[in-house]
């Protein structure tokens, strides 16, 4: 497959789009709604699908997927700076403008409701970890009796377990406190490695309190990222059927 297609980035409200430096990005509008699109060359996407990136270590800035994904985020963010957006998943390429219009027509109500829900909000990511991995002090076991050694080992393990429990309780308290300032929350990973890895949909007016809360938990290593477009809070599955043959 070659040629070009219409890359779709996000749904927003109809407005006069003025993205400095992105003349190819435009809006396809329908009854107050708009799909943010740009004509793109299909080749890099086809290539990506054929040879999915496999990372052995951290992704690099010049990885083809990274380049395209960053571009996607930049466009979403540029609109998000001024209007509510429902980000589409990266790599959604429509056939033509007709398909774009149909998408808006078929999902008008859901899209409207979605935009109302995220308007005036930013997504913030919060991760909490154990503060210090806590390397136990080196202690000479020379001349220690077997019983003393086992006692020492047991005490250390118990102390580590206690500190994990305390931290885990603190992370739960942190999440509850942050949730009070958020309209919606979502846990991003189910892994227990970070004590907390969640996203919060926070009303802009509540952001100062939200951030103050995140700083209140000195016992944890808390990392806050954002503001993000509401990527983690868009759960729409949109289906567009071809009118003519596909």
């Amino acid at each position: 497959m070659s040629g070009s297609g219409l890359c779709a980035y996000a749904i927003t409200r109809e407005h006069t789009l003025d993205l400095v430096g992105a003349p190819d990005v435009r809006l396809v509008t329908h009854q107050g709604l708009a799909l943010v699109v740009a004509e793109v060359d299909l080749a890099p996407f086809v290539e990506l699908e054929a040879n999915p990136t496999q990372w052995a270590k951290e992704p690099s800035e010049d990885d083809p997927l990274v380049v395209l994904a960053k571009r996607h985020d930049e466009v979403v963010r540029a609109v998000f700076g001024h209007h509510p957006v429902l980000p589409l998943r990266f790599g959604t390429i429509l056939r033509d403008e007709q398909a774009a219009t149909r998408l808006l027509t078929d999902h008008h109500t859901e899209a409207r409701e979605g935009l109302d829900r995220v308007e005036g909000h930013h997504e913030w990511g919060v991760r909490a970890r154990l503060p210090h991995p806590g390397k136990p002090a080196e202690m000479s076991t020379e001349g220690m009796s077997g019983t003393d050694y086992l006692t020492m080992r047991r005490d250390r393990l118990a102390a580590a377990a206690r500190s994990r429990r305390d931290s885990s309780a603190a992370a739960t308290a942190l999440h509850e406190a942050l949730s009070l300032h958020a309209t919606e929350t979502v846990h991003r990973t189910k892994k227990s490695a970070p004590l907390l890895d969640a996203a919060y949909l926070v009303p802009i007016a509540a952001e100062p309190e939200f951030h103050a809360e995140a700083k209140r938990y000195g016992d944890l290593a808390v990392e806050v990222t954002g503001p993000w477009p509401p990527y983690s809070f868009v759960r729409l599955e949109l289906t567009t059927e071809a009118v003519a043959h596909a």
Binding site: P59, K70, A193
Partner: protein, 56 residues
């Protein structure tokens, strides 16, 4: 392709960004030329990567 957009540079890590852009957001199916929503391998890689970074 334009070099710059009116975008505030963000300090988030690349993995955080990729995880959101690739694995979240509305999914469109049906009359699409390409939908990379099916790139499960990449997503799996991302998950492993996130875990690796967490445990680093």
């Amino acid at each position: 392709m334009p070099e710059e957009l009116t975008v505030t540079p963000s300090a988030e890590g690349l993995v955080d960004l990729l995880d959101r852009v690739i694995d979240r957001g509305a999914v469109v199916t049906g009359d699409v030329l390409i939908s990379l929503a099916g790139i499960d391998l990449i997503r799996l890689d991302l998950r492993l990567l996130l875990v690796a970074i967490e445990n680093a």
